[in-house]
């Protein structure tokens, strides 16, 4: 385990749950319309960013993604460090790789987790809303955080 200090954590803390929900609903608008996120209906996905503290739950209600403070009654809990979450979001690392390496921890409903992973992997990130600014932001954040990450966890380029 390792500790990453400031940059990413501050950003994540600054992003309010409401803003995050808006962003997610916008990004996955097409998938929501197609019912591809129905598997999250009334299920609680808890995301824990291990190095920066914030954790929150995502769920689907009335076909909208909602973000709430984390609770104990989650169905699936995913825990990892911000650097790894950024690598996953940027499509630069594979979730199973992180799991095999014991970096990403998945607890609870395995099928829900697998469905979520497969849903995310199937998204064509180049066609999602905000694709270019998101890619730029992710690259910048990864560059910023990489210096706080032990060398054996750094992604080879």
């Amino acid at each position: 385990m390792f500790q990453i200090e400031p940059p990413g954590s501050r950003l994540l803390q600054g992003l309010s749950q409401h803003a995050l929900a808006s962003l997610l609903n916008r990004i996955f608008d097409t998938a929501l319309s197609a019912g591809e996120l129905d598997f999250l209906h009334d299920r609680r996905l808890c995301v824990v960013v291990a190095d920066s503290g914030p954790s929150f739950c995502v769920s689907l209600r009335r076909n909208r993604l909602i973000v709430t403070p984390s609770t104990a009654d989650w169905d699936l809990r995913i825990t990892d460090h911000s650097y790894d979450f950024l690598l996953l979001a940027a499509r630069r690392e594979d979730a199973d790789t992180l799991f095999f390496q014991r970096r990403l921890v998945s607890e609870g409903d395995t099928e829900l987790g697998l469905h979520l992973k497969n849903f995310l992997d199937a998204q064509d990130v180049t066609t999602l809303p905000y694709a270019r600014p998101m890619a730029g932001a992710l690259t910048g954040l990864i560059r910023l955080l990489v210096r706080f990450v032990p060398s054996h966890h750094r992604l080879r380029t």
């Binding site: 499509r91 199973d96 095999f100 390496q101 992973k117 992997d121 199937a122």
Partner: protein, 331 residues
């Protein structure tokens, strides 16, 4: 040698093609293929787009129809053959002789490849499939030593495809019933060794426990690399000792064997991992493309680069990579 890469979704297909795959293989969203997981695989719309993408860049598309239909489900396999034909895939990868016979009769324009699940381990078995179903290629199970492989490839009436990299299946593919003992579902008919609904991961004070169908199959110490929760790779108590009774969670890596495989006339190398993400497909395809090109140029002086090996090691299941059965001098 041709490079055949996995695609569990459209971005992975594009990643494979963009990084130099000669062919990709994919499955439909049901139990007609051996990677039957929620949210994975292709519906007709995405398959159409994927096939168009691959063909535009000169790559072929194979469809895995490699599970064994049960009486009540036959119509799904029949529909899959018909859909594959209308989508215009280049080949079907089949294991079941009923599916092969149906495809041969109803969609003769589609090539048939014998799946690894067909478990053909002799030239005679391959010849049987060739004579009866006109197969154009055979994918061999990962149970043969190099010497055995050489013998089979030398006498086979069709080109041979072998596995080059990925999570290892240790039993005789297509005949393994292990997981059905604890999940009630067989990989050969349901399409998954560890149906996700039967899998439970639990962090305890003793370590990370994996359970399949409620049965404890492994407990990983802190920091110990994990593997997929399959029964064959679990640790069990045998005669008072706890260890890997059947096989360790390892990944096959035959990079160093490429010159030998090339000399045997192996037609294609297959990469495992339709359940993995586009990032894995990019990383692994890139390495294997470079290695195959290097081997084709000068097999006598071919040596895997350290960077290739470490890239493959980092995405591997479990603690190590292995030659698997290829290196079994006693076999």
């Amino acid at each position: 040698m041709e490079l055949v890469c996995p695609a569990g979704n459209l971005p992975s297909l594009k990643a494979a093609v963009d990084n130099g795959a000669n062919a990709v293989y994919l499955g439909f969203r049901d139990d007609t293929n051996a990677r039957h997981f929620a949210g994975l695989n292709f519906d007709a719309k995405r398959a159409t787009e994927g096939i168009r993408y691959a063909h535009a860049k000169g790559a072929r598309v194979f469809l895995a129809l490699n599970t064994f239909p049960q009486p009540a489900g036959w119509l799904r396999w029949q529909a899959a053959v018909e859909q594959a034909a209308s989508l215009g895939v280049d080949a079907l990868i089949c294991a079941d002789i009923g599916v092969m016979a149906y495809a041969r009769a109803q969609a003769p324009e589609l090539d048939i490849h014998l799946s690894v699940q067909g478990s053909a381990t002799s030239a005679e078995a391959i010849t049987f499939y060739y004579e009866h179903f006109g197969i154009k290629r055979a994918v061999l199970p990962r149970v043969l030593s190099l010497k055995q492989l050489d013998r089979v490839a030398g006498k086979s009436p069709v080109p041979i495809e072998v596995f080059g990299f990925g999570s290892l299946c240790v039993m005789v593919e297509g005949r393994c019933l292990l997981s059905s003992y604890v999940t009630g579902k067989s990989p050969n008919t349901f399409g998954a060794c560890s149906p996700a609904a039967s899998v439970c991961w639990n962090q305890t004070t003793d370590g990370l426990e994996s359970r399949l169908g409620g049965v404890l199959i492994d407990r990983y110490a802190s920091g110990e690399r994990a593997g997929y929760p399959t029964l064959c790779k679990g640790r069990f108590e045998v005669d008072g000792n706890i260890g890997y009774a059947l096989e360790e969670p390892v990944s096959l890596n035959t990079l160093e064997l490429l010159p030998q495989l090339q000399r045997m006339g192996i037609a294609a190398i297959k990469i495992e991992g339709r359940q993995r993400s586009p990032a894995y497909v990019s990383q692994v395809t890139r390495v294997w493309r470079a290695a195959l090109d290097s081997c084709a140029r000068d097999p006598d002086r071919f040596a895997p680069q350290a960077a290739w090996l470490s890239a493959l090691q980092s995405v591997s299941e479990g603690a190590q990579t292995t030659f698997g059965a290829y290196h079994r001098p006693w076999q």
